[in-house]
Point group: C2
Chain length 195, copies 2
């Protein structure tokens, strides 16, 4: 894509600043305790400007989820190692309590396809499955995972279990989510998939 100039670049910059401010305040205070005026203040803009870009608080919260993924999800070409990292990332993820509560609440609400967060979650699953599938195929090529395993189906199962385990951990009681996820990886991909 060509680099945007002038008013469009400025608008993109404003949106990014608002997304970053929303994410930072969600992490600090929890999404229920964040008000739009604070997001405006942190992003050094006015409330009307916020509402021009994000008409509802919910749309700002969805922007916070996207911002989090922009900072955390592997870029195309950087999939190698994603499986080895799943356990530790899950462990970090559940300890980001405020962020994880927002994530789980919007994920549940997005089970209704008319919910404004639905598109985000559809795209997130697609990209996550792509990342894990790519890493399984790399391990198959390296002879560390059986070649007859269906990479995409297995990626789907690994991610679905992660999603369910994270939700159950948040609801409680807590357990060793890293060990559970790494045990799952070994059970599905074989003992050589991770060190």
């Amino acid at each position: 894509m060509s680099r945007k100039r002038g008013p469009y670049a400025k608008s993109d910059h404003r949106r990014s600043a608002l997304s970053e401010a929303a994410l930072r305040l969600v992490r600090e205070k929890g999404h229920r305790n964040v008000v739009v005026a604070e997001i405006a203040e942190l992003a050094e803009t006015s409330e009307p400007t916020v509402y021009y870009h994000f008409p509802t608080k919910e749309s700002l919260l969805i922007a916070a989820l996207k911002q989090h993924d922009d900072e955390n999800v592997r870029a195309p070409g950087a999939e190698a190692g994603a499986i080895a990292d799943m356990g530790s990332r899950a462990e970090i993820g559940v300890r980001r309590t405020n962020y994880a509560r927002l994530y789980n609440e919007l994920a549940g609400a997005a089970a209704d396809p008319d919910h404004p967060a639905n598109e985000f979650f559809q795209q997130r699953w697609a990209r996550s499955i792509e990342i894990i599938t790519t890493d399984i195929r790399r391990l198959q090529t390296a002879g560390r995972v059986p070649p007859d395993l269906d990479a995409e189906t297995t990626a789907h199962l690994l991610l679905a279990a992660w999603e369910g385990l994270q939700l159950q951990w948040m609801q409680g009681p807590q357990f060793d989510i890293r060990a559970r996820i790494e045990g799952h990886i070994r059970a599905l991909l074989g003992p050589l998939a991770i060190d």
Copy 2:
């Protein structure tokens, strides 16, 4: 437990009637479209009586979840066959669109331990894990599942994946959830676990 008599029995009966009415209306119309007055009418009682038993609409919706499980979850001693049924039950579950949307929304919200649905989900996970663990042990005794497999850990993974798959199916795009779950069972428990 001894059988309740008199006013307590009547109160229990009223609560059951309200839970059943709430569940029926959720199934028919979706929880966002149900109003407390309709639940009162269907249960043949007054709105003040509803609020006496269930102070908020949300508490009625949680009662609807419990009612659904009372009708659908295996009783102690009836765990045999639970694993063989997982795939078909998942397939039925995602097609109960209105109920599944309520379930997912409250499950996500219950990631906050202060949410009023949290206790329900904690108890639900505990009972579900118990059911699947019991059925895995039965299959181990019958020689259909390897004896060294940790039954409880595997039960947890099977249920977590079901939870995540159901959520992703609801968010879309849809896929063959029965085949995915039965493939997972065979991958974790071995080819003889289900027919």
